[in-house]
Amino acid sequence: MVNVKYVHSSGSVTELEVPAGTSVMQAAVNHGLDGIVGECGGAAMCATCHVYVDEADSGKFPPISPPEQEMLDCTASPLRETSRLGCQLVVKDEHDTITVYLPETQQ
């Protein structure tokens, strides 16, 4: 289990215990978390699971693939250095904790 902190744009925080092999998007959707839509179900096709990964955690994930980069150009909220698609961030046991910041809007 990995402790994932979702920091909402309002500043409030939701903490989830996420099993290894689950994506940051899927865990949020499973818990009905507002702020992540995940419309395409994780196919990197919709850009509605946009998150900003805490700089301390960004190195824990594989680099951005070309399809993910395509989608990041389509996000509803501003793109930043730390922008990722939550569906591409699969947690592993050795991650321990992950913090992501949610954008104001996804659609």
């Binding site: 899927q26 959707v29 839509v37 995940g38 419309e39 395409c40 179900g41 994780g42 196919a43 096709m45 919709c46 850009a47 070309p66 399809p67 395509e70 989608m71 150009d73 389509c74």
Partner: protein, 405 residues
């Protein structure tokens, strides 16, 4: 079918079921069969075609995401291209594996991206509003002939850059292509008969001269100009737009209308809150999935959910059965527009997940939203008539009365 497929196998370590997923009975009402397969196990053996069937949500998702084990280049229908000649030159995206698939997919997903949808949305919306205005005036409509077929045939070929003449040919072509994933049964043969006279039209309209500069079709040729894909790939990739871009959304919208007609309380909810249109369309995709099935081919000997499979075995994944699996969805038979069914399999999953899903969602959202804003209630005025297809869940006719706000 080849000889190896017709020999009865004695090495099957899974429930053996005598279910024919392409019988008229199954195509008319697949859901009791889906349940039988789901309850029998994560993997079943379908005797009539000697192939594997997967109907539960989790193994459907896992199998579709494992493109190395379950490949597409040997065909995503019943035929195995390793042992049988494909009926048409294989698709460069649907019937391909990486790295060829990646090259095609990169181009098409950019042309169909959410960003591109923003550029066509205003025009799609105008067309949706215009159509629904006219239908409200008409009052008594056939939701298939007057709405589900009309809207996608207007906006998608417009965006593609096709002229108006002969567009209904796209429906005949889509019907035939999706039938061809199944066996050579009467459903397939009838659709071929309807398609034969217009075969030339389809091939002609894959050519650049038929495609308005700047439209989706021309953008494929621009990718070839830029050296991203070989020039000879361009017409075949445009063909993918023609085959997969219309009959799918026609039935997606038709099935959404069917769900809303069958569940008036849900329509009332939508009419009171048109902003629910997008998730309403999504829920209808889950409950009445336009694309019901896709096949893969086993690439190497493997075990899937404890079941040994041989190289070259065919596997049919029941997307629509996964979408009604009680292990994944509470009250799966209920149409609930507030459900938000993220993770449904109606567009497939993984690298072959529908590349046009953004445009499909846009069309669905806009037409349902236009309807919700104008129509208070819809009533069924006659028996819905099914159109059988080996892959698609489709209606031929759905008579409705529209009662305005």
């Amino acid at each position: 079918m080849s000889e190896t497929q017709t020999q009865v196998r004695d090495d099957i370590d899974a429930p053996r079921l005598d279910i024919d997923p392409f019988s008229d009975d199954f195509l008319n009402m697949p859901y009791p069969y889906h349940e039988q397969m789901r309850e029998a196990g994560p993997v079943v053996w379908l005797e009539p075609y000697q192939l594997w069937g997967v109907a539960r949500h989790e193994p459907v998702k896992v199998g579709l995401n494992d493109w190395q084990s379950f490949i597409s280049s040997a065909g995503v229908g019943l035929a195995n291209f390793r042992t049988e000649k494909p009926f048409r030159p294989p698709s460069l995206i649907l019937e391909a594996d990486p790295p060829l698939h990646t090259r095609s997919r990169t181009v098409l997903s950019r042309i169909l991206s959410p960003k591109m949808m923003q550029t066509v949305k205003a025009e799609f919306e105008i067309q949706a509003n215009k159509l629904v205005d006219r239908l409200v005036e008409q009052g008594e409509i056939d939701a298939i002939k007057d709405l589900a077929k009309v809207f996608p045939l207007r906006v998608f070929p417009d965006a593609l850059g096709l002229a108006e003449e002969g567009r209904e040919t796209l429906l005949l072509y889509g019907d035939m292509v999706f039938n061809a994933f199944g066996p050579r049964n009467h459903v397939f043969l009838d659709s071929v008969k309807r398609y034969e006279p217009v075969r030339e039209w389809i091939m002609d309209h894959c050519q650049r001269s038929e495609l308005r500069p700047g439209g989706f079709g021309d953008l494929v040729y621009q990718a070839a100009d830029a050296g991203e894909i070989p020039p000879e790939d361009a017409p075949l990739l445009v063909r993918s737009f023609l085959s997969a871009g219309v009959d799918t959304t026609v039935n997606g919208i038709g099935n959404a209308m069917y769900c809303l007609a069958m569940f008036p309380d849900q329509y009332a909810k939508l009419a009171a809150a048109p902003a629910l249109a997008r998730q309403t369309f999504e829920e209808s995709l889950r409950l009445e999935s336009a694309v019901q099935t896709f096949f893969r081919t086993v690439n190497k000997p493997l075990e899937f959910y404890g079941v040994p499979m041989r190289e070259n075995d065919k596997v049919i994944f029941f997307l629509a059965a996964a979408n009604r699996d009680g292990r994944q969805w509470p009250n799966p038979e209920v149409f609930d527009i507030e459900r938000k069914p993220v993770g449904h399999m109606a567009f497939g999953s993984g690298i072959h997940g529908c590349v046009g899903q953004t445009v499909a969602r846009l069309e669905g959202e806009l037409i349902l939203s236009a309807l919700a804003k104008r129509v208070k209630r819809i009533e069924i005025t006659g028996e819905p008539v099914r159109r059988l297809n080996n892959t698609l869940r489709a209606l031929e006719s759905l008579p409705l009365r529209l009662i305005p706000h």
